[in-house]
Symmetry: C2
Subunit: 385 residues, 2 copies
């Protein structure tokens, strides 16, 4: 088998030949059927963990099980003689990998927050006063998280045109992409008991790419004072493949010191993930960035999210917020890339874009060196209802 990536082995949920959904692990262009491997013997685990419509049962089994399964899959797939039974990727239907409980979206890229501040609040300081003290975040809609490949219908809603007092209603005219990294919770926590920052990653099962589609015109009108709502809740796309945290942590690198120093409950050795990320629009790569640009780590996000005693459930999803770097080509949203439509982006076909048109297709990709490729997130815009 060529291009085998035993250090990666992301998990997903698939359906094959009209069968019931089951958990699989991806090996290049093929899928290991974990329910079959457990039933037939090579994988010494309860098949019920994998004969499931989501990863949640497997995740709920806990970290020791995750490590044991990963080790067993490595043994089954590594080495020149390994010939594990697989299903061709092209023959399977990929399903939403996680039954998402609560979905939290953070805002942890300094460049993104600064850019959005400049564009949305030109008369104020770009960065809100709280931004360097806590990972700003909010709850999104878990029920509209969809798997890569699901068509995205353009949302309608209220927007207010510049100079008008009253809003108008109609399809969003500023439909946007947000390139994000998502973290899936596999170990729950008890209500009333904060998770310490140094224990936070113990609760994370894995990582996946997220496109937090955003209707900027709806957002600008609705978001004060309680935050984004319909501008985000129509759909959030996630990859079909969840990369195990262990594989991702191989890409851990030191990060700059945070200034001012965070409060003690957020304090840790600064780190980030060296993951190359890109956004492709209709075949043209319009942004290349890196998860290193995130100011707050996933551990800090999780510690913050629970410091008030909020509990975690298996299947909670929290995302980084749009990942932008300091250069123009490193911006993770069209709002920033086109500087709110004042600098349209040129595509390879000669056309330009500021925001998404009907029929446009966006693909997010991520990788960490030669060994690790995150599952892509793909979505095409359907016209409004």
């Amino acid at each position: 088998m060529t291009g085998l990536r035993p250090e990666h082995l992301p998990y997903g949920v698939f359906r094959h030949a009209g069968g019931a959904p089951r958990v699989g692990a991806r090996l290049d262009e093929a899928v290991l059927d974990l329910a079959a491997l457990a039933s037939d013997g090579p994988l010494d685990e309860d098949p019920a963990l994998f004969a499931q419509p989501s990863l949640n049962a497997f995740m709920a089994a806990g970290g020791e099980t995750w490590a044991r399964v990963r080790e067993a899959l490595r043994a089954l797939t590594a080495g020149p003689d390994a010939e594990p039974a697989t299903v061709p990727l092209e023959e399977v239907e990929l399903l939403l990998p996680v039954a998402v409980r609560d979905y939290v979206d953070f805002y942890s890229s300094l460049d993104h927050a600064t850019n959005v501040g400049r564009l949305f609040r030109p008369d104020a300081e770009a960065l809100p006063p709280n931004w360097r003290h806590l990972p700003v975040g909010y709850h999104g809609r878990a029920g509209t998280v969809v798997v890569s490949g699901t068509p995205i219908r353009r949302p309608s809603g209220q927007r207010r045109e510049p100079g008008d007092d009253a809003p108008v209603f109609g399809p969003s005219v500023r439909l946007d992409v947000e390139l994000e990294l998502g973290f899936v919770v596999g170990v729950p926590s008890a209500l009333g008991e904060p998770v310490a920052v140094e224990r936070a990653l113990d609760h994370v099962f894995g990582v996946l790419l997220v496109n937090d589609w955003s209707a900027r015109d709806l957002q600008a009108w609705e978001y004060r004072p309680l935050g984004p709502f319909l501008a985000k809740s129509f759909a959030t796309s996630v990859a079909a493949w969840v990369t195990p945290l262990e594989a991702i942590l191989a890409r851990r690198v030191a990060a700059p010191v945070q200034e001012p120093a965070p409060l003690p409950y957020l304090r840790e050795e600064p780190w980030a993930l060296d993951l190359d990320l890109e956004m492709e629009l209709n075949g043209t790569v319009v942004a290349r960035t890196n998860a290193r640009h995130l100011y707050w780590s996933a551990a800090q996000q999780l510690a913050h999210m629970t410091v008030n005693g909020a509990s975690l459930r298996v299947g909670d999803l929290f995302a980084s917020g749009t990942i932008s770097g300091p250069e123009r080509g490193q911006r993770g949203s069209l709002l920033e890339l086109s500087w709110n439509a004042t600098e349209p982006i040129a595509l390879a076909d000669g056309s330009t874009r500021s925001f998404l048109q009907d029929g446009d297709e966006v693909v997010l990709r991520g990788s960490g060196g030669d060994a690790l490729a995150l599952g892509e997130v793909r979505g095409r815009i359907d016209p409004a209802a």
Copy 2:
């Protein structure tokens, strides 16, 4: 049986004598065991709908089943000779009635929004420009919705003292109550397909009281620009009993015309619910208000929430936002009642309160005439961790 309220018959989930959780209907101080009634014959339904840890399976069965069950329970319980088998309320443990999917909190009381605007944003217009055009709302944390009676641990978090640049960390010193009405979704909707305002109530199974506990000091520091997060996510208490929508709609009354007229997708004959509501703190009733004070209806909230194509799931919960009336004694939060601690409230024991102290107990109650009493929401404050 005295005091029987056949027109009410709220549903809940209970455990009795160490048995498995099951769905019940409340009859005064007793509980009808619907799983037993279905197994034994008097209720001609699949017992599996009721041998459940939540109402979700029953809700998912749809409106015809709800109507049939309600009619059957009326027949079983009405009339002078009715002697249905019940379990005494005092012998059961009441559980969270709904497995909550997405939780949305609105902000639909004009007086509340005006008061909060004055207190939080004294230099701006009290009412945000969008407020009369759409029901402002945001997503809350579904995983920390707890049943009445669950102790509430005081959350810790960041707050910034007046005049300071940097925040401090510690237990919230402005812990508050929000008296709200919640609506439980029983009929799902498809992604990409808005629910029309005139069909919105078809999706609602029932109504229950909600206490959306709020840490005002955390909220003031964190909420810009993405809205409330940790200030709310530590706990939201709901009643153990869900009143069927049909019973609630008997309290429907005409409401004032909305000015300006809402956009067409929000337009309906103005209506509200005539439900008397009260907040008790340590045995003293500190507020008496009424759901009539809500500006936006539940139908408008649901139509708005889905107009962008967001789908509904069985178990979604949406709440009204704090219900305040124009008079001081009609305010549904301590923030408003004590006017941000400048006018402390006197309790019957001679003490005063601005915000909640450890050990304080809050009870929310609601009723509609003699026949309809909403399940109460009770919660006592435990000290911070």
